[in-house]
């Protein structure tokens, strides 16, 4: 069945709003996660650390170049994800609408193609 990745995309402002209410946010997120578990759709969920703590490995040149985060001009930062096993794209979207996300942030809904949709290479 189709899997969908709900990608949390925050901005500096939405991340600040989130951190200001972090306890409430954690509590509502826990309830939301429990709901998805009980519905039998949640496969994985993770939240990411402060982008300032990350590094970027850049493959523009001949050898990969490693620079410290944050990412520079990027306006929206990948902050976490939910991986769902749902019946349809519409269901993934419906779950996305229910994510307790901070105002100003966005959630990108992307399908994970099944094994049979991958290009097959004869060996």
């Amino acid at each position: 069945m189709p899997k969908y990745l709900l990608i949390m995309r925050g901005t500096d402002e939405s991340n600040a709003a989130l951190m200001a209410n972090i306890d409430e946010m954690m509590a509502t997120t826990r309830v939301f996660i429990e709901e998805m578990v009980k519905a039998g759709v949640l496969l994985a969920a993770e939240g990411l650390d402060d982008p300032g703590q990350g590094v970027v490995v850049d493959f523009s040149g001949e050898a990969p170049v490693v620079t410290d985060g944050p990412y520079g001009e990027t306006k929206e930062l990948f902050g976490g994800f939910f991986l769902l096993d749902v019946a349809s794209k519409q269901e993934a979207v419906e779950w996305a609408k229910r994510v307790p996300a901070a105002p100003g942030s966005k959630i990108e809904v992307r399908r994970v193609p099944g094994d049979d949709e991958m290009p097959q290479v004869d060996e």
């Binding site: 069945m1 309830v31 429990e34 578990v37 009980k38 519905a39 039998g40 759709v41 496969l43 096993d85 019946a87 349809s88 794209k89 519409q90 269901e91 979207v93 419906e94 779950w95 099944g114 094994d115 049979d116 097959q120």
Partner: protein, 404 residues
């Protein structure tokens, strides 16, 4: 919002709405009817104007329809009591109670007074949130047949006075077994279709896995629930390798194990660990067998001795001729075809699997390995005649042809 959006919300909300309404009205059939009316209304009105809170809209509408239905039914004096209850109806769902109510809903849908077909149809409809059309597609039966099963099922429950509650402690385990077997029947229909031209129907298997996950979340202390979930995940993990591009079945020995779904295997193994807390039951043992395959790099490198032991244990806790037959296959791999043939011949002598294509399939295979080719061919041809799945049948005939 279109039809697919309504269906998506309904899938998520169905169990909770029907459960809450059954708790409120005490009438499972009425609750289901009211919920269906709400969905029908949503299909008409949402495309014109999307509600701000679709889940809340469905619940409120279903409640109104339930109240309408009770009003039509009840005598005048009861109406006052009902009006008094109206204000309470608008309260939000109590999250602590709703889990028990969803669980009670599963027990009602899988109640032993129902026919097996009605249990499957009701469970998929009210707990899974599937439409009659989707259930009909899943089981390859006409839509009116599904509708009739659901209508009859609701009447049976009303006539038997089945209470909306968790079964009493003394019956709990047994009734839970009933719920598990309904989920397993749905899974099996997806993992080895009993009829039709496709061997696998992953969408049907998916519904069972989803139900098993829900049950595992609601009954985390029941090892067999995790056992069933593990069995489903580990079996489904092999789906990508089980059929060729043309849909023909690929036997375990020929499967490209790199195509097995590693995340499904991990989920299956995690569920199996939860199932193993107090000795394995029938589902846990089958999951342990599936796990042994899942962690083997090839058929040759599989721990067949362990699989034989697991089948022996399974034969003790849940004796069945199919288990015996599978044990024979494992014995053939662990100790050779001659010993396995003795087990199969014993099965035939006691006529415990009459009319099954599986017995001559295995017997043919064993005879072929023993070099008794004409007998092997006759057995495989017999198996093909008995087999209802077209894909499996053609594999059997191809195999028989190689023995001539």
């Amino acid at each position: 919002m279109g039809t697919a959006d309504v269906e998506a919300v309904w899938r998520i909300e169905s169990a909770r709405i029907v459960a809450a309404l059954t708790r409120f009205t005490g009438d499972f059939g009425l609750a289901e009817d009211a919920a269906q009316e709400a969905v029908a209304e949503a299909l008409v009105s949402w495309p014109l104007a999307s509600p701000a809170n679709p889940a809340g809209w469905l619940m409120a509408t279903a409640r109104r329809r339930a109240i309408d239905a009770i009003r039509r039914r009840t005598a005048l004096q009861d109406r006052y009591a009902l009006l008094a209850a109206d204000s309470a109806v608008d309260e939000e769902i109590d999250p602590d109670k709703i889990d028990d109510d969803v669980l009670a809903l599963m027990f009602v849908s899988c109640h032993p007074v129902l026919s097996p077909e009605a249990r499957v149809a009701l469970t998929l409809r009210v707990v899974g949130g599937l439409s009659s059309e989707e259930i009909a597609r899943a089981f390859l039966v006409p839509v009116p047949t599904v509708q009739a099963r659901i209508t009859r099922g609701k009447k049976t429950i009303a006539a038997a006075g089945v209470p909306f509650e968790l079964p009493p402690a003394a019956e709990r385990r047994k009734r839970l077994g009933g719920v598990l077997s309904v989920i397993y029947v749905i899974f099996t229909e997806g993992s080895t279709a009993t009829s039709g031209d496709r061997l696998l129907r992953p969408d049907v298997a998916y519904e069972a896995i989803r139900l098993a996950r829900t049950l595992a979340a609601l009954q985390p202390a029941e090892p067999e629930v995790h056992g069933l979930l593990a069995l489903c995940e580990l079996t489904a993990a092999r789906f990508p390798a089980r059929t060729g591009p043309d849909g023909s079945p690929i036997l375990l020995e020929d499967q490209d194990r790199r195509r097995w779904d590693i995340s499904a295997i991990r989920r299956g193994l995690a569920a199996l660990a939860k199932a193993s807390t107090r000795g394995l039951g029938p589902y846990g043992l089958q999951a342990a067998i599936a796990a042994t395959h899942a962690s083997a790099p090839s058929v040759e490198a599989t721990d067949w001795d362990r699989i034989v032991v697991l089948y022996e244990a399974l034969g003790r806790v849940a004796p069945s001729p199919v288990v015996e037959l599978n044990r024979a296959v494992a014995v053939a791999m662990a100790s050779g075809p001659a010993q396995a043939l003795a087990i199969v011949d014993e099965l035939i002598a006691s006529d415990r699997l009459p009319g099954s294509h599986l017995v001559p399939t295995v017997r043919g295979e064993l005879l072929a390995r023993l070099g008794r080719r004409p007998e092997a061919r006759a057995q495989l041809e017999l198996a093909a005649r008995l087999c209802a799945n077209q894909r499996e049948r053609s594999v059997l005939l191809r195999k028989a042809a190689t023995l001539s």
